[in-house]
Amino acid sequence: MTKKPQPVLTLEEAAKREQRKISRRRFLLVLGGGVGVVAVGAYLARDTIAVEARLAFNQVFLNADTPSTAPPTQPLVWFRIDADNTAHLIIPKIEMGQGIHTALAQIAADEADLAWETVRVIQADTHSGFDPEILFTFGSSSVTSLYAPIRQVAASLREMLRAEAARQTGIDAATLVASNSAFTAGERAITYGEVVAAKQGEWSIPSNARLKTPSERTLIGKSVPRVDLYAKLTGRAVYGADARVEGMAYGAVARPPRYEAVLTRASAGTAESSPGVIAVVIEPGFAGVVADSRAHARAALALLDLEWTGGTTINQAEIDARMTIPPERGTLIQRAGSVDGAAGTRIEASYYTPMAAHAHLEAQSALAEFSADGVTITTSTQAPNLTQSYIASAMQITPVENVRVIPVYVGGGFGRKAGSDVGLEAALLARGAGVPVHVAWTREEDMLYGFRRPPTRNALSGTVENGRITSIRHELISSDVLLSPEVRATFGTSGPNFFETVLGSDPLAAYGSQIHYSVPNIAVIYHHEHLPIPTAYWRGLGSFANTFAIESFIDELAFAAGADPLDFRLAHLPAGALGARFETALNRVADASGWRDGGAQEERAFGIAACYDRKTVVALVMEVSVTGGRIRAHRAWCAVDPGLVINPDGTANQVQGSVVMGLSSTFKERWTVENGLGTATNFNAYPLLTFDEAPTIEVIPIDSSDTPTGGMGEPVLGAVPAAVANAVFALT
């Protein structure tokens, strides 16, 4: 290989190049918000700029608020009120068990003064008048992103009805009192339904309708029962796997024998004459069968004549070896002071989080139905927007609105159902076969294909002196989340490319990697390792692995300092409001668990962990025993502060579920690869935590604000393995 000759620059060209460099430096400086840039010589300057700019960018991204959304402000997009006073509320978020239909309906009904028993929730689809992007349900962000807009539009509805009620009754609007879907003035009462029924012509929508004060709230903060449970408990609720339409057939799709293998040749073979087969559908890189039953479709798959080329033959041992912190510098994503030469006793520890499956019990499912207007996909998805754009792009359907995606109940999402693969499969098969097609993955397909939680290695070193942490250095290496082929396929490549080149990190893998404690010298360094195994979103993203590592390490430091783990955390709280929130949560969970007063039962130990994820503060105490090498979690107490709790019982259910899923991942789940393919195909080889292994879980919801600032679906998860590890450490 010959070296590329160095270009010879004229003086003028060199000056221009320098100019560009400076302007780029200024640009980064502004975005970074006050991060200093020191330029020493041309080459070094470029290097320093990259480090500083990336640090600044990563800090901005890791600490950003939930991206604000701008949903429609027109009340009639959200609400439909019938003459009988039934209030239909169209909700642009997906219900996957997190109770979001209830929480958002509570917020709306509270502000609009709707009678709760009249509220009926309707799931919005891509054609309900909302920007489909608003439907994307991810990152525990639904309440925080929609709280303000929903209150405003609900207030608009209330005031629009009030003005019309005043006109219809001749009563001054200011004297009409709104409550329980009606206006009253003395003896006179008129329901919202009556106002709507008598309305003629266009509504006039008030701007800046007054919002209720916290003391006027009727539903926010109450444990209102879930709106979706009656249908679910009677077996009537429809999930993607339950979508049915007259005349539909069943699809099955050929899968590669190894990840990254490419379908280089495909023909129908003898599949077309197999019993029940309606069509064999072959597209570039894709082969599938449509038949009159799922069993017939799958039986015929084996008769296709397919050639898969290439692909990985990677084994688990190589994956584990590649997930070691490399000697290269990595990307600095958090810094305080200088960790080099910090004084005190030095502690080092390394943590590894393996790959995991999502193991949602409803496997990937979608129904596709073509008509003259395009295609309609009914599916359990967290991302109707991505499913829509992915199918439109892959199948060259224009305009994109000719793909309608109807999201239905999701039988467990956990990030996996932000993928859009099954929707496209159903659409390809339906187009090829000329009939509506339902595709439902088997458990085996779901365990082997799609994407996993990335493996993560965390290496921490720190120093303690006189009971204080004097430094923490945290290096992590993880595989793709945002940089995954899945994200590149559905979001497009420009976003991931931007993050890869400008941030030098996969920020979603870096979630939870920051040190929030008051420590004078901090360095957090990220490394990316792309694996030939598809990895992407898994509940909590990087927070699971990173919180496990950091919070376990804090106990190592506490031990070195001879301090109680609770007191040690309290002694290192950050200044300001965040520190105060942590202090409250830690003290509340300590009180509830009896940390300072008796502690764990005999032959058991307490472990504690705290974290700050999705702007929610979490403090968890876990009581654990170790018998004959078997770890058991007996009792858990968890304090959570998401700012304002909308529904305490819904919050409790999320926390309880997060503890169980976190324990399942801690005790049981290790998804492995041999010869380029996953080894587990079902729950016999990938068991989940069971009923008898679940602890009792007491939840302490905390309001620290009159506004929700954080999410509840994910933040608790990462504290679980750390609390367990700390309890085991205390026992042994």
């Binding site: 068990g97 408990l233 009677t234 077996g235 796997a241 339950d242 019990l361 899923m661 079902n682 679940a694």
Partner: protein, 160 residues
């Protein structure tokens, strides 16, 4: 093939070896019974055959022919006026607000209903033994435990 499901006779074009689950879900369109593992591990697809809890994913439909099959759609009762009364297990699961995604809950409730029919006053250990083979990925186990105990109480109250 003739199948007696929830007290109603259904004719299904099926091979006796076909899993009952898919005859219910696809042939008859009764999607309240859910699929999750297909190998009898997780309990999601539990139905009753002659009152006994069985996993429909590994039960050949031929084995259920001529027997009384109960699915989640038949757990509640409906009177002559069409008024639906939930089974005590459903009432308890609703009252305790057990589910999250609820995909496993048909199986949880069918398992609990069959268990309580034979053991109307269970101990906590009895509940553990009865419910330990039903997966819930959302992690609602603690609530299932409370709700099964509560269902026993509701059933006693409504019987007396």
């Amino acid at each position: 093939m003739n199948l007696l499901i929830n007290g109603t006779s259904h004719t299904a074009d099926a091979d006796p070896a076909d899993p009952l689950l898919w005859v219910l879900r696809d042939t008859l369109g009764m999607t309240g019974t859910k699929y999750a593992c297909g190998i009898g591990i997780c309990g999601t697809c539990t139905v009753h055959i002659e009152g006994a809890p069985l996993r429909a994913c590994i039960t050949p439909v031929g084995a259920a022919e001529g027997k009384a099959i109960t699915t989640i759609e038949g757990l509640a009762s409906t009177d002559a006026d069409g008024i639906e009364t939930l089974h005590p297990v459903q009432q308890a699961f609703l009252e305790i607000q057990v589910p999250q995604c609820s995909w496993c809950m048909s199986g949880q409730m069918m398992t609990a209903a069959a268990f309580l029919a034979n053991n109307p006053t269970p101990t906590d250990d009895d509940i553990t033994a009865a419910m330990r083979n039903n997966y819930c990925r959302c992690g609602c186990y603690a609530r299932v435990r409370i709700a099964v105990a509560r269902a026993a109480v509701i059933a006693q109250e409504s019987a007396s």
